[in-house]
Assembly symmetry: C2
Homo-oligomer: 278 residues x 2
């Protein structure tokens, strides 16, 4: 996502070149070393349209038996961190009614957060998802009442209002914890990337290209992030998916059949030709 | 607790001598090195009575303003482990209704376990305590639906039936999780030390000794484990406590006033004298 963030002006080129890897080497030094550092700049706002082809990284196409996915929206992501602080104490010597158990409070929160995400997915936007994926207990010893829990929430949807609703209910649930338990809480919505809508004319061009080749294309959204999300903020864009076996991705077993690759490339070519007016 | 377990026959002396430290050196080698390894055996069953003096490691005496604690029972400890297994999955690409989220299920369990411990403490035995102190989530990444949670429970009381009730409700709650969620659970009650009752004549001797010295002694139980718990299984025993400042223990700031040490030693001496018929 780095190149597209610079191309769309979301990030300054010098800031990007100053990024360092784990060894402390800058991106600029790496680009110089392979003679890949250009001097020109590109401005995606000047582009008439953009199309990206990627593997799905999920099983929607496989399940539907479709050859190509035409993405009409890319999910937004809101990431929130919460701390729930009670007091660590001896598991034997601390009576039940004198405990400030952070794990019990945090567990109630996880249950409420799941209920909020389920409710929004069932009643407002079926593509909404909310996950508490990281959950760390301190001091995390069998015979000590837990004093603190730190957790991370990942909230995604193509409907920003639905994401907002889950995040707001998370914040309110934490306030409720403070009222019900002798704990203090902290909530930080530290990342908030809005969903990206693909351009109708680009999506139409993709379906037209598929139809011309008698190719079964499926309209879908992307629950993973792609460069197209950045580009779509400044020009018309569309994202195409090829099926990926079992949805595996970033994994040595990642696989897309060659025939599916060729079919997806055919739709990409047809889409570009139509957008170019050819 | 090692010496008392051998003295009471709960553990074989050769097994104890074969214990190794983190460097792999046996207890036998350590005892040989300091010329502390004897050849005689002792049998605590032959003892007429036993008294131990320890710091409280809690704040009961400090809060009560008492100088000495006379322990009439030492808590039992049941330790249980549970695994809750669902399936790790992509936090964006997995719809809410297709998740097998182990953290959500484990969180419900923590809330139920706390309710069970509270209920037993309120309605059956006020000294009962139950704690989920260790709680590990895997893979524990922000953008992955948690696939597994492993947790440890610590259950204590001077009333074994109350401990049993909490452990049984924990086991039943895990079965309930399997019915309500697409997860599998495992429950292992791997340690079960019953509470120890002090002998009435020893407790009476201690109170008599305190009264003779006009010393304010408080009847109490011990929520921590002591050698006396082993010895009490084979002969008459009593445990005395001196106050410990702020309940700190196994800590460089552990402190008992010298005057309190002297007072407790006076009660210990008086107890031993009475038990010896002096």
């Amino acid at each position: 996502m780095l190149g597209s963030s610079v191309a769309t002006g979301a990030r300054d080129a010098d800031d990007a070149l100053a990024f360092r890897d784990a060894d402390g080497t800058t991106l600029e030094a790496h680009l110089d070393a392979i003679d890949f550092r250009g001097t020109d700049t590109i401005d995606a706002e000047e582009w008439d349209a953009w199309a990206e082809l990627h593997i799905e990284q999920g099983t929607v196409l496989e399940s539907a038996g479709a050859s190509v996915g035409v993405v009409d929206a890319i999910t937004g992501i809101t990431t929130c961190a919460a701390d729930i602080v009670g007091e660590a104490d001896h598991a034997g010597a601390t009576p039940m009614d004198e405990r400030r158990d952070a794990l019990v409070a945090a567990s109630e929160f996880v249950v409420e957060f799941r209920a909020a995400a389920d409710d929004v997915a069932q009643n407002r936007s079926p593509t909404a998802v909310g996950t508490v994926g990281q959950f760390d207990v301190a001091p995390n010893a069998r015979n000590i009442v837990p004093g603190e829990v730190s957790l991370q929430m990942d909230i995604r949807d193509v409907d920003y209002g639905a994401m907002d609703a889950i995040a707001e209910r998370a914040d309110a649930a934490l306030d409720g914890l403070e009222a019900a338990h002798p704990v203090e809480t902290d909530f930080d919505r530290y990342r908030d990337q809005r969903p990206s809508q693909m351009a109708d004319d680009c999506v139409d061009a993709a379906f037209d290209a598929a139809a011309a080749g008698d190719i079964d294309a499926k309209r879908m959204h992307s629950a993973a992030m792609h460069d197209t999300a950045n580009v779509a903020s400044v020009t018309d864009a569309v994202l195409l998916f090829a099926p990926s076996a079992d949805g595996l991705s970033h994994n040595p077993r990642e696989w897309t059949d060659w025939a599916d690759c060729a079919t997806a490339a055919t739709v990409l070519a047809g889409t570009l030709a139509r957008l170019a007016g050819a």
